[in-house]
Symmetry: C2
Subunit: 291 residues, 2 copies
Amino acid sequence: MQEPPFSTVTIYGPGLLGGSVALAVRDRLPGCELRLWARREQPLQLANSLGITHTYTDALAAAEGAELIIFATPIGAFEELARLILPAISKNALVTDVGSVKAYVHRTTGELLTDRGRMFIGSHPMAGAETQGLENATPELLQGATVAITNPHGVAAEMEQRLADFWQALGCKPYSMQPGHHDRAVARISHMPHIMAALGARNALPGDVPLPDLQRLAASGFRDTTRVCSGAASMWADILWENDVAVRQVLNNCVNDLHRLIFLLEDQDRAGVLRWLNGAKETRETILQKD
Amino acid sequence: MQEPPFSTVTIYGPGLLGGSVALAVRDRLPGCELRLWARREQPLQLANSLGITHTYTDALAAAEGAELIIFATPIGAFEELARLILPAISKNALVTDVGSVKAYVHRTTGELLTDRGRMFIGSHPMAGAETQGLENATPELLQGATVAITNPHGVAAEMEQRLADFWQALGCKPYSMQPGHHDRAVARISHMPHIMAALGARNALPGDVPLPDLQRLAASGFRDTTRVCSGAASMWADILWENDVAVRQVLNNCVNDLHRLIFLLEDQDRAGVLRWLNGAKETRETILQKD
């Protein structure tokens, strides 16, 4: 059996994504010592029953001797966690995360760790679901998922490669990019679609239509288009918050584009409306067309 | 075997929806004479091979003796078709349609037929897909679909009941409503989600992010949220066009609501952003919660 890229891995946060990473390590890297930390005991009992035996509520003890440390708590908790466990982080260990925004994480947690001589590289597995918690975690969630890897603090290339090997071993596709590019890209293809789903749902209700009429007419189009907005609102509020410059830029573009469509309808320009719709279809195909 | 609600049914237009209705009549109402009209021969050969043996390219001949006539062409073609086949429509026959907007259809085709002493009641099966054409038609498309029934011209209640029985026999759930309520409701739960999907797709691309970065990061959220906009753009341009007053009203609400979110982000009001997102989730649940 090949040696795992990291012999001891500690995951902080037993949520959907952290839990799924833990289960993938359990399955795919059996030679690796896997540790899971949670603030409370309760999810750790479930973890034990899933075969994750090294569980901790003591954050410092969990970091001691770990070669790879993965932050999978809400992003807003990273910095405090980093401060807390700093004395236990080896200078040979790598710290990474699974957060949905990267510039903010590097500006806060990454800077802090780098200033204290620790190594931090960001990760973002493009994997998610509307469910939450370890009870919904599954290694399948990560299969084939792109993992953006961001290394603006200049950690040595060989360490970045080990991190890429780790994600690849879990069935992911690692892909290096700049934090700013990452954040502007996810603002467009993840955060904005989420907002569009929410906008569609929010504006379905008000007005002079009886609710039962709306309920009976709601079909698969409404269900699918608004699906993502049934996800954890609090996590999403953090994400929009932490990526607010890129998000606001895209939202302003959307406002302008909606005005354009309203104008085309007011102006009875059917050909223009058709061009507007075809533009959407073509862009979608361009983006979903992988090379 | 029970007698079918109509002994002879003619469907004009062999597209996805017209074709699916035809196949459902074939399967569910074997005692009914089923006729299918198309402008061209080609789809009718496919219809023959699917067991639909009474096929026509002569629109007048197809209407002769029919008890129920269903318009399933693009909505923009209804009025001309009605004028053309008028002499062949019996005064005891019922004409209906499967169009996605209702006020426009009643204002044009419905008025025309009513003025000439023919009976017209609107229908809108809430069933669709991103695919098109008879080759993708399936009776399954209609299973469990709500069919809005609109009868503003005052056709006798027993005829409306026969139409409801017909849809029910095909596996649908008929539901009577006012055309204006229908159009405002579908503007909200069908047309607007479509526009949100298109808006999300259109505004994913422009900007200073390399295309390969976007392509690699596009995950299931983007795919699902924008799915509906891969449907037939030309049909959707007609729909927005024919329902433009209701659609513009909802779009203006969306613009205001986007401004609200942008303001909350600018104002660093995290609690407000969370409320905004929770509002979406709650509205979605309210609408998808059937009684």
